[in-house]
């Protein structure tokens, strides 16, 4: 009898530990947890926790720090489920921590082959979760599943041979019985794709090529055989609409980056958002922000889903602040362009036409002598996550101001080597090189307030129901702003560059805010 009770208790515990699809769909209803990279399927990076407010944020203190034994950047957004935190560590390790104390529960250390090619560091931005499993992409272009109680490897599937420049750096997205993940490598002449793998077995269920090949829609947008090395990588987590069963993914630059002569045409689906059927990977629609990009303005930025009135009609929209300097509002059921406007200084386009296609300014492409163009190479924003708060009805974004000199050079493809066709120098003109946290009207992109940063930041932002926006800086500060005004209410130097996006969770009934900086993960709470 006693054994039966014990067994029942263990089974009940195991049942509680399962993360269900319903929980993922309703992620914002349990704000003590943080279930996925951007917080929920809509990618709003908003916490419903309200204990920390403008009135008491001055009482924030460090509760614990987890120091990783790494020299690479720590870019992870932690997940927290039922008091356990899951983080990734460069290059492709995973750790589980007690969310109350930071004590490590287990660590998965991946044995890596020598020197996988990654343009911007051997980094990883986080895990995905479902059931009793965690999922991660690896720098050597695999997808893995781990037992979330022990860290034991359950399956390990190679996406593609990493030696030709492919890698996995972003947190996967789990939708129903599939793990969705894309490949990085846009600077190595890869042919990008988004894959779906069976959560139980790791078998591939579908693949969508983000560079249109023979027999595929858009093949004619690549001159000659340029599609074979067309880049269009995927290195940030997508979004998902359960009602439409569509998943939305941003794609990177075409290859080579700065010499478009070898790939004449629009180069679909580079610098685009693609809306895919989550079950089959079939393309429902696409929207290309920067046709025939020559400035490396990836469109991998977070695709945020909102339901809101636009031109007097309630619409299901997708909004995004693009690296090319424009903010976009699209109908996410159809891909129809609804609105767009520049949210930073840009000089490459005179505007957007009625379909959202940029009207290019003359002579703004890269040249052998260098051409000074705004925004700079890192764009109007980069991979830093934006946030949306229903309470303020504002879209928060880390904006970057400044221009670069774009140079065109030879484009000679060699497998596994950089394939960029030029180079870039940042050109710092006095007074116009700075960063900002900006609050935009989500329907129009109009700036409502700005909190200026001395140096452009790559850190993301988090809004909370307490009325705060958390942000980080390149010189190592973590700060809390008033979500309604942008006023700086609290800050602390963490001693390392903030190259990650914040999140929030609760443990023991108390709100915590977490951010990675340098090689440490810092967790804050009220004293």
């Amino acid at each position: 009898m006693t054994q039966r009770i014990l067994l029942a208790a263990l089974l009940a515990q195991a049942a509680v530990a399962q993360v269900t699809q319903a929980q993922l769909v309703d992620a914002q209803k349990t704000p003590q947890n943080w279930f996925m990279y951007s917080g929920d399927y809509r990618s709003q990076r908003h916490s419903g926790l309200a204990a920390v407010t403008p009135a008491n944020v001055k009482d924030l203190e460090i509760k614990w720090i987890y120091q990783a034994k790494i020299t690479e950047k720590l870019e992870t957004t932690p997940l927290v489920v039922d008091g356990v935190m899951y983080i990734t560590l460069p290059p492709s390790d995973v750790a589980a921590l007690d969310a109350a104390t930071g004590v490590r529960l287990w660590e998965y250390k991946r044995s890596m082959p020598p020197l996988p090619q990654v343009c911007c560091g051997q980094v990883n931005r986080g895990v995905a979760i479902q059931g009793d499993r965690l999922f991660a992409a690896t720098v050597d272009a695999h997808v893995i599943a781990l037992d979330r109680k022990t860290g034991r490897l359950l399956w390990d599937t190679e996406m593609i041979d990493y030696r030709t420049g492919y890698s996995g750096t972003h947190a996967p997205l789990v939708v129903k019985d599939k793990v969705l993940v894309g490949v990085a490598g846009g600077e190595y002449g890869i042919r990008g794709f988004i894959d779906a793998y069976d959560v139980a077995t790791g078998e591939r269920r579908w693949r969508f090529h983000t560079v249109a090949g023979p027999g595929e829609f858009g093949r004619e947008t690549w001159a000659g055989d340029s599609w074979k090395t067309g880049g269009s990588s995927v290195w940030l987590t997508g979004s998902y609409d359960p009602e439409l069963n569509l998943t939305y993914w941003g794609t990177g630059n075409p290859g080579p980056d700065w010499n478009g002569d070898v790939r004449l045409g629009d180069n679909l689906f580079s610098c685009s958002v693609v809306a895919l059927d989550a079950d089959t990977g079939q393309r429902k629609w696409h929207f290309q922000f920067t046709p025939h990009d020559e400035h490396d303005w990836d469109a991998t930025q977070i695709m945020m889903l909102l339901d809101r009135p636009v031109r007097g009609q309630n619409r299901k929209v997708l909004v995004t602040a693009n690296r090319n300097g424009f903010y976009y509002v699209l109908d996410r059921a159809t891909g129809e362009f609804l609105h767009g406007r520049a949210y930073v200084k840009q000089t490459w386009a005179v505007g957007l036409d009625e379909h959202g296609r940029p009207v290019r300014a003359p002579d703004k492409g890269p040249t052998p002598e260098g051409n000074h163009v705004y925004p700079a190479i890192a764009g109007g924003t980069n991979w830093s996550s934006p946030s949306y708060s229903l309470a303020t009805d504002l879209f928060y974004v880390t904006a970057r101001e400044g221009g670069s000199l774009y140079y065109k050079g030879e484009a000679d493809y060699k497998p596994g080597r950089r394939y960029q066709g030029g180079f870039v120098n940042n050109e710092r003109v006095s007074g116009d090189w700075y960063g900002a946290v900006r609050a935009l009207d989500p329907s129009t992109g109009e700036a409502k307030w700005e909190h200026k940063l001395r140096v452009p930041s790559i850190a993301g932002v988090l809004s909370t129901a307490g009325g705060l926006v958390f942000a980080g800086t390149e010189d190592g500060y973590f700060k809390a702003l008033d979500a309604r005004s942008g006023q700086d209410l609290w800050h602390l130097s963490l001693g390392g560059r903030v190259r990650a996006s914040p999140m929030s969770f609760a443990v023991g009934g108390e709100q915590r805010v977490a951010i990675a900086a340098g090689s440490g993960l810092f967790v804050f709470g009220l004293r």
């Binding site: 001395r454 800050h491 130097s493």
Partner: protein
């Protein structure tokens, strides 16, 4: 660089370090002075060097010699 505090104190020197919230200035007596940006009324980075001009006290050849010495060349 030149700074003026909210209390009206004016200083000049070399920029020693700066970040989002602070400025550190090496003043003309080679003392490091630290300031919160919020406590400064004015921060100016003049284009003209703080070094005095040697145009009237040294010839062009002498300036070349000084530069050669500073650059590690032979006298």
């Amino acid at each position: 660089m030149r700074v003026r505090t909210a209390q009206g104190e004016a200083l000049q020197g070399l920029l020693h370090n700066q970040d989002e919230y602070t400025i550190h200035l090496l003043d003309v007596r080679e003392q490091v002075r630290s300031f919160q940006r919020s406590g400064l009324a004015d921060v100016v980075f003049p284009k003209q060097s703080l070094m005095p001009s040697f145009a009237k006290s040294l010839s062009a050849g002498q300036i070349d010699d000084v530069l050669a010495h500073l650059c590690g060349g032979k006298q």
